[in-house]
């Protein structure tokens, strides 16, 4: 059982002052093995904070990130799964599933984690799963109205991944989960 935290689009301090307190208290150091961040932190302080949650941190560049040296895309393997990360402002039309599917095929990954729309989504399509963890701070978005703070925790176990999404709605943390199973023939 490997826990992977996926979050992004915090936009601190441009659009939000901090993560919600209820989220911060859940993100206890030592419990999570990997952190995937889609980008738009935006500052070094946020980077440092994420590193304290877990030292194995993978970040891709968002268009407002202060640090310009984050990569545009990243791939990594966790257990039986290949994961790909990309902020998503590069994939037009923004939030379009078919275009994201193309990126997924291009990166050749089972799970594509992407952001930019500040809207949590988790789709399964032919090439695999596309997950958007939304905005961890509920930051303003020109694309999505009424953004609730959200993040995703993936529990990778063998050929199965359970995706937990945590959303802060009206001050309460609500959890939902989705199961995905991988068939071995899916990737070469």
């Amino acid at each position: 059982m490997v826990l992977v935290l996926a979050l992004g689009d915090l936009h601190i301090p441009h659009r939000a002052p901090d993560l919600p307190a209820k989220f911060k208290s859940m993100l206890v150091p030592g419990k999570i093995q990997h952190v995937i961040c889609t980008g738009n932190l935006c500052t070094k302080e946020v980077h440092d904070y994420l590193k304290t949650v877990c030292p194995d941190l993978h970040i891709t560049r968002g268009e407002y990130d202060e640090e310009t040296r984050y990569p545009e895309t990243k791939t990594l393997t966790i257990g039986q799964f290949k994961l790909g990360v990309c902020h998503g402002h590069q994939v037009i039309p923004w939030g379009d599933l078919d275009s994201l599917a193309m990126l997924q095929r291009q990166l050749d990954v089972d799970i594509l984690v992407t952001g930019h729309t500040h809207q949590f989504t988790a789709y399964k399509h032919e090439a695999g799963v596309v997950i958007n963890p939304g905005s961890a701070t509920g930051a303003f978005s020109s694309i999505t109205y009424d953004v609730n703070p959200s993040f995703v925790l993936m529990d990778i176990d063998g050929l199965r991944v359970v995706v937990y999404v945590y959303e802060l709605i009206d001050g309460e943390v609500k959890v939902d989960k989705i199961d995905f199973k991988k068939t071995t023939t899916a990737t070469a």
């Binding site: 301090p13 402002h89 037009i92 039309p93 078919d98 095929r105 020109s142 070469a188």
Partner: protein, 772 residues
């Protein structure tokens, strides 16, 4: 069970005690009348033994004590008359010490001592010292207190005061003072100890007893005041500090505040007034905290104004007091005020005002200790009040801050911001925002003496990020007020200079965009209202705000913000406004963004935003699209060109807008990107001797599939087939370098096609002609 019978029992015991005294008194009188010293001593000792009881409350004990007291007076007269009993006073002094029990012994000793002093056979001070120390043997509070009270009483007229007959060589007023003070100290200790005696359930009873005994202790002060030789000098140097140091009952301090404080200014600078007064105020604060019913007492005694005046006088009197001393006193006073009168903001402001007075007329503080104290002073109200804004309304607060040196001023500003962020209460009016930004002005712009070049970069970034975070706490539901807040903030940050604007402008812009979104839902202008907040107005303001980034310069940031505004304007149906924002974005792209990587990102942002616009009429849309496509084709690197151009294809096909589904122009775009991809391959051949990976072709293929599925009539199965075959050829050619990535990409694309074919239904039919 015992308690209800208690009173009756006490009466009984008192009666028994009195009877015992009377009984022994009878025989005592007989002994005295017959000049029989031995007998007299025996019966007086027995008589005094009644005072050894533990069963009586102070009230009742007093009655017993008075009976004994009367008898001791008679005994004293007997002792005085040496002729009658034939014993020298020195011997007598020694003789009485043989009494069996300590309490009777000491009463007798005091009685003899009184005579001894009167006889002048020994210096008063020696006898007094002896007595006051011997009385230590009785540690039971009630018995001890009465015993020492007796001592005080019999010694009163025998103190070596100035002009008294007991003054002599080595016997001075100081000795008298010393004696009284010591007796007083010991009595106080006993009295305090009473508090901690006994089981908890008897606490009430204990408190009652203590209050009954309070006067006994206080009599000593009275005695002190009666000593003529105690001039001001002695009082202030010797008496007062000792008295103040005592573990005093708090009620004392409160009720005698005026007297106590009146003496303070007169004290020598060597007396550590700060500590004395701070401790006093601390004690009083604790006292007030112990019960809310005490508050009226504090008000009635006018504790605050007395303390405030006293401190003022002390500072005035001690001209050489360093600033740090004065400020420390006010820190203590503020602490007292916040604890005892938290609702009296006028008091708090007064304390701050007093500090302003001290600090005025002097150069900016350089003493680090004093600075620390001022920071403590300013931090106290922040910690106390949940609603930070309360602290902000104190008129003297900014004035105190003004006296800090620039560096400390900024530190304090950070403290204020941290406090606000912690409390999470919104600052909700433009007036309050005004006050707040005045207070933190050290962070907002360059103050005298500091230029941003001197600053440590990390510190500076931290400061500015704090200010940025702060902006999210400035909020009001009412749009008019919110707009006022935004304008107020803008007014302040606009003078921030090129280093600060990149930090402060974005949060303000997003605040404004959020406001626009709120107003979107509302119906048009409200008739008759004076200049309501409208999206149009806000966009005008936004234009100004983003424009300011040109001095930094920060074209990439500004471009992003213009695009955000364009989307906002789109959602408000303001076509010209949206067009204008795009224009600004393009101008920046053309004139200011030269870095090729930055250009790639920027053009994608423009394309992505434009793709979502639904407010533009055909002409405007065409112009902008044409521009976007043009710039895409002009990017430096061919692969970037290729990608940007095929991204532009989406400008001609928007899913939810039927008017924008121009299949031909989509195809044109894709073909153009294909040509670019080709050119890229050829270039690679020429420059590197091998053609690059076919990734671009596969990407374009995927785009073809996208439109194929959407039903673009221009994109047919044969077109797709052609592209597939092309890629296969490329991959197999000699000069192909390929790469596992592009191979895998192609493979997964083909797999996708297969998947779609196998879907059956309409999609399967569509894909049927394509052969893999």
């Amino acid at each position: 069970m015992m308690i209800s019978n208690g009173i009756e029992d006490e009466e009984k015991w008192l009666a028994e005690g009195i009877a015992g005294i009377q009984h022994n008194a009878f025989y005592l009188h007989r002994a005295v009348d017959s000049n029989n010293l031995r007998e007299a001593l025996k019966y007086s000792a027995q008589l005094l033994s009644e005072l050894r009881t533990s069963k009586l409350s102070p009230h009742k004990y007093y009655e017993l004590y008075m009976r004994a007291f009367d008898e001791l007076r008679r005994l004293e007269m007997f002792f005085k008359d040496e002729d009658r009993h034939g014993c020298s006073i020195v011997d007598l002094y020694e003789l009485v010490q043989h009494a069996g029990n300590v309490l009777p012994r000491l009463y007798l000793l005091c009685t003899v001592g009184s005579v001894y002093i009167k006889s002048k056979e020994a210096p008063a001070k020696d006898v007094l010292k002896d007595l006051v120390e011997m009385c230590r043997a009785v540690q039971n509070p009630i018995r001890g207190l009465f015993l020492r009270s007796y001592l005080a009483q019999v010694s009163r007229d025998k103190l070596p005061d100035i002009g008294s007959e007991y003054e002599g060589e080595g016997d001075t007023v100081m000795d008298a003072v010393e004696f009284v003070l010591q007796n007083f100290t010991e009595m106080n200790k006993l009295w305090v100890r009473m508090q901690h005696q006994g089981p908890v359930r008897e606490k009430e009873k204990l408190e009652k007893e203590r209050s009954e005994l309070r006067d006994l202790v206080g009599k000593n002060l009275h005695v002190l005041s009666q000593i003529e030789g105690v001039d001001l000098e002695i009082y202030r140097d010797a008496v007062l500090p000792r008295v103040l140091e005592q573990v005093f009952p708090d009620e004392y301090h409160l009720q005698t505040l005026e007297t106590l404080l009146g003496a303070c200014p007169q004290l020598q600078p060597t007396v550590d007034l700060k500590t004395v007064l701070s401790q006093l105020m601390e004690r009083l604060s604790n006292y007030a905290a112990s019960s809310p019913e005490l508050l009226p007492e504090f008000l009635q005694v006018e504790a605050f104004s007395k303390l405030s005046n006293a401190i003022g006088k002390v500072i005035e009197a001690q001209v050489d007091m360093p600033i740090v001393g004065a400020i420390t006193l006010y820190v203590s006073l503020l602490s007292f005020t916040l604890r005892v009168h938290p609702d009296r903001l006028d008091y708090v402001d007064q304390v701050l005002g007093a500090c302003v007075k001290i600090l005025s007329g002097k150069a900016k503080l350089e003493d680090s200790k004093a600075t620390k104290q001022v920071v403590a002073l300013l931090s106290a109200p922040l910690d106390k009040y949940d609603d930070i804004v309360t602290a902000l309304t104190l008129s003297n607060y900014p004035r105190v801050m003004d006296h800090l040196d620039a560096g400390t001023n900024k530190i304090m500003a950070m403290v204020i911001i941290r406090s606000i962020m912690k409390n999470k209460t919104f600052v909700s009016t433009s007036d309050k925002v005004e006050v707040l930004f005045e207070l933190i002005k050290g962070l907002i712009k360059d103050l005298e003496g500091i230029s941003t070049d001197d600053l440590d970069e990390e510190d500076f970034n931290e400061e500015q990020n704090s200010v940025a975070c702060l902006m999210h706490i400035l909020y009001n539901d009412d749009p008019e007020e919110m707009l006022k807040i935004i304008c107020t903030v803008w007014k302040h940050i606009m003078a921030g200079g090129p280093k600060r604007l990149p930090f402060t402008v974005p949060p303000l812009v997003f605040s404004a965009l959020k406001l626009v979104r709120r107003l979107q839902g509302q119906d048009g202008d409200v008739a008759g209202e004076e200049v309501p907040a409208t999206p149009r107005k806000i966009f005008q303001l936004l234009n100004q705000i983003i424009e300011s980034l040109s001095v930094v310069p920060a074209p990439e940031l500004a471009l992003r913000l213009y695009l955000q505004c364009a989307e906002g304007a789109n959602d408000c149906d303001l076509e010209p406004v949206a067009y204008d924002f795009f224009t600004q974005a393009f101008v920046l792209y053309e004139e200011e963004i030269a870095d090729s990587k930055a250009q790639v990102t920027a053009i994608h942002l423009i394309i992505g935003t434009l793709q979502r616009m639904n407010v533009f009429g055909v002409e405007n849309r065409d112009t902008l699209t044409h521009k976007a496509t043009g710039y895409s084709a002009k990017l430096l690197k061919k692969p970037d060109q290729c990608r940007a151009v095929y991204a532009c294809s989406h400008l001609f096909w928007v899913d939810d807008q039927d008017g924008i589904k121009d299949g031909e122009r989509v195809l044109l775009c894709l073909k153009r990107s294909l040509r670019i991809a080709n050119a890229a391959q050829q270039m690679a051949n020429v420059t590197r001797g091998s053609s690059g990976p076919v990734t671009l072709f596969v990407e374009i293929l995927n785009k073809y599939l996208y439109y194929f599925e959407k039903g673009n009539p221009q994109i047919t199965a044969s077109v797709i087939q052609g592209l597939i075959d092309l890629i296969k050829t490329e991959m197999q050619s000699d000069s192909a370098t390929g790469g596992p990535a592009s191979d895998a990409f192609f493979t997964s694309t083909l797999r996708y096609i297969q998947f779609q074919k196998q879907k059956g239904g309409a999609m399967g039919e569509k894909y049927e002609p394509i052969k893999l």
